[in-house]
């Protein structure tokens, strides 16, 4: 039996993006449509949509680098949307009993990283406000990203001596930043580090040209420089 193909309008509806974006992605090769023999209309397989939406890291990274439209299922324009989806992830983790006692820690870590994006960029978003928040419970992965100012620019307000992204990440994850001016600071990334150091959870975190890796049950901080200097923050939590 021939597989039923979805029209471009149906595919756009499922992904939560515009038809124009799908046309653009087809032209650029980012997400290529199917054409029936000799036809000009674009069609999509359900399976291809699922595969496209399952590559969380690529979607998040492309959003940071290109600022292209994001499938609506991953986009949290404000913190209320983020809180609601975070609670939904918590409910799924509990219902499917995948993470057991780690559940509150995974939710708290994702919550601190996502809330950091909102708390530090509110009213200062360079272009697109909000965060990317996607998770694949089966693959035990949570991905968060924002197109905000990044850790260096944010921390420089209280630590003007910081010279580069690497130093900024080290401070953000290790030093207690005391004093609550000029903005509230929860020291949430220190919490993230402690949770990862004491539990079977790992974290990849990128801001600017600095990439930090925190490994499961390990207190070491691994910070390297990436080839590209990207904006905002990208975080991948694996458990």
């Amino acid at each position: 039996m021939e597989e039923k193909l979805l029209t471009i309008a149906e595919a756009a509806e499922i992904l939560g993006i515009s038809i124009d974006t799908l046309r653009r992605w087809d032209k650029s090769g980012k997400f290529v449509a199917i054409r029936k023999d000799g036809g000009t209309h674009r069609y999509y397989r359900q399976k291809d949509l699922e595969i496209f939406a399952s590559d969380l890291m690529k979607l998040a990274n492309d959003w940071i680098v290109e600022g292209s439209e994001l499938p609506s299922m991953f986009y949290c324009a404000n913190s209320s949307v983020f809180q609601a989806r975070l609670i939904k992830m918590q409910d799924t983790l509990i219902r499917e009993n995948i993470a057991g006692a780690l559940t509150p820690l995974i939710v708290a870590v994702a919550g601190e990283i996502g809330n950091n994006s909102f708390d530090h960029n509110l009213g200062k978003w360079p272009d697109i406000p909000g965060v990317f928040f996607g998770y694949d419970i089966g693959n035990r992965q949570v991905v968060l990203a924002d197109r905000g100012l990044g850790i260096l620019a944010t921390l420089s307000r209280v630590r003007p001596e910081l010279k580069n992204h690497t130093e900024a990440l080290r401070v953000a994850f290790t030093e207690i930043v005391s004093g609550r001016s000029p903005e509230d600071r929860g020291n949430g990334l220190k919490f993230v580090r402690q949770v990862v150091a004491e539990n079977p959870i790992s974290l990849f975190f990128r801001s600017g040209d600095a990439e930090l890796r925190l490994k499961k049950d390990n207190n070491e901080l691994y910070i390297t420089r990436s080839q590209k200097d990207t904006r905002g923050c990208l975080a991948i939590i694996e458990f």
């Binding site: 509150p104 939710v107 509230d184 919490f191």
Partner: protein, 96 residues
């Protein structure tokens, strides 16, 4: 006075929600007697984070000092959050 945090929700994670919880609670706190102990009960909370905790618990600690007492909790997100808030504030919470 016993403060059941689950009445503010089972997922206590953002600064904004912590601030709202504290503001909503001020009218009840105003009724506390001058020497009354405020006991924080974490029972029923699924996820707790430093952002919410800093807005709510740190503010109460600064307001009530030793009159603020935390009930024990097995929840790992509660334990690590309390440890971090103590380090950040360089103060200890009184444990029940």
């Amino acid at each position: 006075m016993r403060i059941e945090l689950k009445k503010f929700g089972t997922t206590l994670i953002s600064r904004q929600a912590g601030k709202e919880a504290l503001a909503a609670f001020q009218s009840i706190l105003a009724q506390a007697k001058p020497d009354e102990i405020l006991e924080i009960d974490f029972e029923g909370v699924i996820t707790f984070s430093p952002s919410w905790g800093d807005e709510f618990l740190t503010s109460l600690l600064n307001q009530f000092g030793d009159r603020l007492v935390l009930s024990p909790s097995d929840n790992p997100s509660v334990k690590i959050t309390i440890e971090l808030l103590e380090k950040t504030q360089n103060k200890k919470f009184k444990q029940a």
